[in-house]
Amino acid sequence: MNAVTPSPKLHDCRDAFVAVLERLGAENSRIVAVCNDSVGSSKLGGFKAKWPERLVNVGIAEQNMVGVGAGLANGGLLPFVCGAACFLTGRSLEQIKADIAYSNANVKLIGISSGMAYGELGPTHHSIEDFAWTRVLPNLPVIAPCDSIETAAAVEWAANFDGPVFLRLSRVGVPDLLPANHTFELGKANLLRDGDAITLIANGTLTHRMVKAAELLDAKGIEARVLNMATVRPLDVDAIVKAAHDTGAILTAEEHSVYGGLGSAIAECVVTEAPVPMKILGVPGVFAPTGSAEFLLDEFGMSPAAIADAAVALIARKPSQA
């Protein structure tokens, strides 16, 4: 296969989200947006201008926001509940569990500015625990698209999916990686580059860094497979097991704590289905120091060069190398 080439232009995935939301909103009057004084940060200004009566702003009250979302769905509407991921998940986790997931409310939870997108605002505003909090909940797909194309596809998919969804978006610019005609499939990883020495798996803002790391490895003569794994739950077990069998080592990276996120989910699968050496890159269980998201990802060993170094070290741990 041909390896993907990242687009030179960077995109804020919120733009892709609202573009699809407004397009679907024009076709389906049941679509409503719910927010917590976050019209600006969720980029809902266009939606509000078109359909002010379909924008439900509960003010700064996230528990109420999620409960109201469940009630709107009960009343026959299709709510997209949008808020900063840190508050949406952290403040309202019990509402997400009881009112949305357990009640099977057809509500789409859109976590905006996830990961460390709020950078210098500090750990109170970082959302690096949300995979861990949400992926343990039954009945709640957890999805972190890697680019604006996958974001648009995932929003469209979510609108047509009959059930709750947690969609985790960033605000940090990322290049496009997937083909323009990409269709989102729940629980299906995308092969971005093939190789047999190691598999690099990421989602969200880390996927393009993995692609660049694979290019650096290629220059050293190391063929790395790269999987984009937007869906954290349900996990693409087949792709992980195949990666373990084909490449013998798996390196993961995510804009999330190393505890309980994508890497943990993959490790749970690897250790039970196909044990191979693994390394999990992410925020190493600390409250981040001051810095932008990009700075912090580099700081925590997730620059393309550092990822490539981690891959080389991991390959050395493969039994075949001993």
Binding site: V66, V68, A70, D99
Partner: protein
């Protein structure tokens, strides 16, 4: 249905609830007895519902936010034809759909899953708000405990209901003055409720929540603001030794107590 008939049904529901608590060896009998008159008035007089079409889009919504009195709701739903009356005997049994807290995906007539307190009112606000967008004509009712009002999420919802002008929302606070561990006044006393709700822009009615003649008109009252009914009730209402004691939040009567309670409820039937 007339108040006398409703009282008769409420007594039958109390009796079946008591029997089920005794048979299951668990339940929240105090809060069930305090709420049963309101549940009866709702299901047998006020709610526009179709038991054979539990998801009818125009049905009135009722949310039992104090989900721990699920048994009282199950007995009421059974009596109203949503589930078989014989099924009450499965309450809390392995794999019964009649869990200790109601499940909307298993039990017809249940609108949303409750159990953790402070959840029902925000969901009810969403249900009522939906009609302002869709134009549907249903009314939304939600029943909370008085202790439950200590949850902050309720006050987020109360503020938003007023902001949204939800004249199609009725909140009933089952004000039996006791929470699990103690009296409200000895814990975190939110009473009086009326002035607080009024300050948020709600219309408030104060009634005796165990008297049908007061319950029915309050539930049927309509205005141009969200409406709160402070229903002054007795925990354990109808069973003399349970009334107004904190002990009977979730205690189960022994054989002797059961006999007395059974006799008291039966003699009024």
């Amino acid at each position: 249905m007339q108040p006398n008939d409703l009282e008769h049904i409420a007594r039958q529901i109390r009796l079946r609830d008591l029997q089920a608590v005794f048979e299951a060896g668990a339940g929240h009998i105090g809060g069930e007895m305090s709420a049963i008159d309101v549940l009866t008035a709702l299901y047998f007089r006020v709610l526009r519902i179709w038991p054979d079409q539990p998801k009818h889009p125009e049905r009135d919504r009722f949310v039992l936010s104090k989900g721990h009195v699920a048994l009282a709701l199950y007995v009421t739903l059974a009596k109203r034809g949503f589930i078989p009356e014989a099924e009450i005997s499965t309450f809390l049994k392995p794999h019964s759909r009649l869990n200790g807290h109601p499940n909307c995906n298993k039990v017809p007539g249940v609108e949303t899953n409750t159990g953790p307190l402070g959840h029902g009112l925000p969901v009810a606000v969403g249900m009522a708000k939906a009609t302002k967008i869709t134009g549907a004509k249903y009314h939304t009712y939600v029943l909370t405990g008085d202790g439950e009002m200590q949850e902050g999420s309720n006050w987020e919802a109360i503020a938003s209901a007023a902001q949204f002008g939800l004249d199609n929302l009725t909140l009933i606070i089952d004000h039996n003055r006791f929470q699990q561990g103690a009296a409200l006044r000895d814990t975190n006393n939110l009473a009086p409720f009326a002035s607080k709700l009024q300050a948020f822009g709600w219309t408030v009615s104060e009634i005796n929540g165990n008297v049908m003649n007061e319950i029915v008109p309050a539930l049927e009252k309509r205005g141009n603001q969200p409406h709160c009914i402070v229903a002054h009730t007795n925990k354990g209402h109808g069973i003399s030794f349970m009334q107004d004691t904190v002990d009977w939040h979730h205690k189960v009567p022994n054989a002797e107590q059961y006999k007395i309670a059974l006799a008291e409820l039966s003699e009024t039937l």
